[in-house]
């Protein structure tokens, strides 16, 4: 059951493929065979060079979706290719809002199962084996498909490092979606972009996250200020997202983002397994917590047993004095 052609969903934002898609393309390259991409939007041609540079030979361009949510039309386009006999052995989706929708829709259209929350993919016995972090990342489960392909995997961000291959621009082939009728009726009427200064949470070199230990919503400015001074991104535990202190887009963990920065600073975060699964692969971890028994200290390279209301203002002052 060797897989000689792999497709990767190339999501595009701000005119460039998202990092997770590039990570998956890099992984697909090492799993052998041809790597092709599926893309959608009004200007897919402009990313053909960027995708080619990571090893994509062909981009299947679903084209402009005219306001539809991507799930239905993109899945329909892929399903049509598979039914015509031009499909791949495996399709890798980034675990994003749209990636998950498309994978789920495709799974039904093709009547194929999906493996989600994948954190690694390897080749074994001529097939693909996926790894999944379970129970808060304390155990790693391996799984594989036993039936007919194409095999559908939904892979978490930061599971692989994105590395260019130096390939030429990919060829763009039109792959418009067939009519999908009533199921395609959800339309985007307007988009709202929250203002963000500095790097994206999952691409930042430094992440400063705050938790319930901050005490109240107003104290989150300490996190934002420190993140700005370190040219990093502010993050959060779910406790303060659920409490409405910060938007969900800040959440790190099992049900939020996976981050892997050079330094992760956890401030007033206890270190629940569901939080740690999203950050414990950071290269370095610094934790500030007033409870010396907080689980976060078990993964910290540097742990400060102290009060965030004292340590953070001092740290901010000292950094300001340097700049």
């Amino acid at each position: 059951m060797s897989v000689d052609k792999i497709w990767v969903l190339a999501e595009v934002t701000d005119g460039a493929p998202i990092t997770t898609s590039l990570e998956l393309i890099t992984a697909a390259r090492s799993l052998g065979g041809t790597v092709e991409a599926v893309a959608y939007g009004d200007d897919t041609a402009s990313v053909a060079a960027a995708l080619g540079a990571y090893g994509v030979t062909t981009v299947h361009d679903v084209g402009d979706l005219a306001g539809s949510l991507p799930g239905v039309p993109v899945a329909a386009s892929i399903a049509a290719a598979v039914e015509a006999g031009n499909g791949p052995g495996a399709i890798l989706f980034p675990a994003t809002y749209d990636g998950r929708d498309i994978a789920g829709r495709l799974s039904v259209k093709l009547d194929r199962p999906v493996l989600t929350n994948v954190v690694d993919l390897t080749e074994a016995d001529g097939g693909l084996v996926s790894q999944h972090a379970i129970f808060g990342g304390t155990q790693v489960l391996s799984a594989r498909f036993t039936g007919e392909g194409p095999q559908i995997f939904v892979v978490r961000a930061k599971s692989f490092a994105a590395e260019p291959s130096g390939g030429a621009a990919a060829e763009v082939v039109a792959a418009p979606a067939p009519d999908t009728g009533a199921s395609n009726a959800a339309k985007i009427v307007s988009r709202h972009v929250e203002e963000r200064t500095g790097p994206k949470l999952d691409e930042a070199d430094v992440v400063v996250s705050g938790g319930r230990g901050l005490g109240d919503k107003d104290q989150y400015v300490l996190i934002e200020e420190l993140a700005t001074l370190l040219k990093g991104a502010p993050g959060a535990s779910r406790a303060i997202v659920d409490a409405g202190w910060v938007p969900y887009s800040h959440q790190v963990g099992q049900t939020g983002k996976t981050v892997k920065p050079t330094v992760y600073l956890a401030c007033g975060i206890s270190g629940a397994t569901q939080h740690m699964v999203g950050m414990k692969n950071s290269k370095n971890i610094v934790a500030i917590n007033k409870d010396q028994d907080a689980p976060i200290f078990s993964v910290a390279d540097l742990g400060i047993v102290g009060d965030v209301h004292k340590v953070l203002p001092q740290l901010i002052e000292a950094l300001k004095a340097r700049s």
Partner: protein, 262 residues
């Protein structure tokens, strides 16, 4: 205003506070003990009750697939105010994957003829996160996932859908399926009266055969995937722990300098 019928998918799961375990033989999650309502679904139940209220009436029906005829979690949701429930429980469902689960849920939901179907973006125990969209595709319905705000206006639903950069405003005609994120609404606590009333609310228990689903579509056979290995993850070891006596910040700066972040 017209009455609106809402189906909420509610998963009954092992208590997340108890340490989870895999069956050493089947590698499935052990679901032997008492199951409770998944917290993630309490938001869907609350949302459904509020939307039915705002529409000026209608019924909230729960749909759940769970082993051993489990109804504890359903009773909690019925006590919150849902009118009735459909439970699919069948020994042949052990080891069912997300797609198989969706086939079962979709067949049961069809019976309720809902205007709107609500589910959570992902469950707390399996968190595959694809089941609801698979249900929508099986029913040929549109879906809007990751809703942080939901409003029904006559025969369409308006959703603020979480995105990477903020949110999209999405409009969709009914019937449709919507998945809600944690925290969209504040789930009510069941009142004493609600708890008493829940005891006599109807729970229709069905088998896979009742739904007309072939046995090979569900269970471990239908899943067409297998667990090949379970291993301990590489543990990360603790480093230096310093008690702050006014100099903690300086130690952090020193550490960041070593890493050349500063």
């Amino acid at each position: 205003m017209q009455a609106m019928n809402v189906v909420v998918c509610v998963k009954q799961i092992p208590d997340p506070a108890a340490p989870p375990a895999l069956d050493p033989g089947t590698k499935n999650l052990v679901r032997a003990g008492k199951l409770i309502l998944d917290d993630s679904d309490a938001y869907g139940v609350e949302m459904a009750l509020q939307l039915a209220d705002a529409a000026g009436g209608g019924e909230v029906t729960l749909v759940s697939m769970a082993p051993n005829g489990e109804t504890s979690g359903l009773r909690t949701a019925l006590a919150m105010g849902a009118a009735k429930a459909i439970l699919i429980s069948d020994e042949s469902l052990a080891g069912t994957d997300a797609l198989g689960t969706a086939k079962v849920l979709a067949a049961a939901i069809k019976r309720a003829e809902p205007d709107l179907i609500l589910a959570a973006t992902e469950s707390s125990d399996g968190y595959t996160g694809t089941t609801p969209v698979q249900v929508a595709e099986l029913l040929g319905l549109p879906s809007v996932t990751f809703a942080k705000k939901v409003e029904v206006n006559g025969d369409s639903v308006k959703v603020e859908r979480q995105t990477e950069a903020g949110y999209d405003e999405v409009e969709c005609p009914l019937p449709a399926l919507v998945t809600v994120t944690a925290g969209v609404v504040e789930p009510r606590y069941p009142s004493f009266k609600g708890i008493m009333a829940a005891k006599s609310k109807p729970v229709d228990t069905l088998t896979v055969a009742d739904l007309g689903i072939a046995a090979d579509q569900v269970g471990a056979v239908g899943a067409r995937q297998e667990v090949t290995d379970v291993a301990e993850a590489e543990a990360r070891s603790a480093g230096e722990i310093v008690t702050d006596e006014g100099e903690g910040y300086a130690r952090i700066i020193e550490f960041l300098e070593q890493l050349k972040v500063l």
